[in-house]
Symmetry: C2
Subunit: 104 residues, 2 copies
């Protein structure tokens, strides 16, 4: 519950949040996508948190139904993974979501 | 040296070999690419080999200069990772390599 609250707080207080793993190419792709469009996400590297990493990953699954990384939130809303985010980008919907947040 | 010899033997005796990790999307992509073109690779899942997984990964780095997965061999030749393999496929060169092996 503590960890769950901390996730809710994190995604509420940060416009773009990516739960990631440093050595994962899908995580790299989504991080560099946001960089390309000039947005700086808050990145949480689950493989760098010791025992808390796997715990966080389970909490995220409980909160979003998604166990995999990358796990992307925009404006507190769960977006999905790499494929989902790239799809939104290609449809032009990513910039719409971001513009609603006053960060681009 | 024993592990190195076993890798050399494996890639010499099997037309297509993929060193992979089960939960890695890039590994999944390259496995399904070969499946789509009707080729059945020998897949070695490094995350399912206990302590030998990381050892094999280091041996592969010594042999190929590549530490990352997926690590793809065709006809005993080191091809590269997911991006390299997809590139070859798009250039039409993958089927050329495979046809030289009498397996497509
Ligand atoms: N279609 C999803 C695939 C997500 C996925 O399979 N992620 C893998 C890593 S690439 C994963 O989280 N595997 C389990 C793990 O690393 O704990 C996406 O685009 O994000
Ligand atoms: N461009 C390379 C990327 C390879 C890569 O970064 N692989 C990651 C997993 S997606 C890796 O091996 N990370 C270190 C590890 O898993 O031990 C490819 O297309 O294969
Ligand atoms: S771990 Fe390979 S793409 Fe995520």
């Amino acid at each position: 519950a503590r960890l769950e609250d901390s996730v809710k707080k994190t995604v509420a207080e940060n416009p773009v949040v990516i739960y990631s793993k440093t050595w994962c190419s899908y995580s790299m792709e989504v991080k560099s996508l946001f960089k390309r469009i000039g947005v700086e996400p808050l990145v949480i590297e689950l493989d760098q948190l010791g025992a808390q990493g796997p715990q966080l990953q389970k909490v995220l699954e409980r909160l979003t139904g998604q166990f995999t990384v990358p796990n992307v939130f925009i404006g507190g809303k769960h977006i999905g993974g790499c494929t989902d985010t790239v799809k939104l980008y290609r449809k032009g919907e990513l910039s719409t979501l971001l513009s609603e947040l006053d960060i681009d």
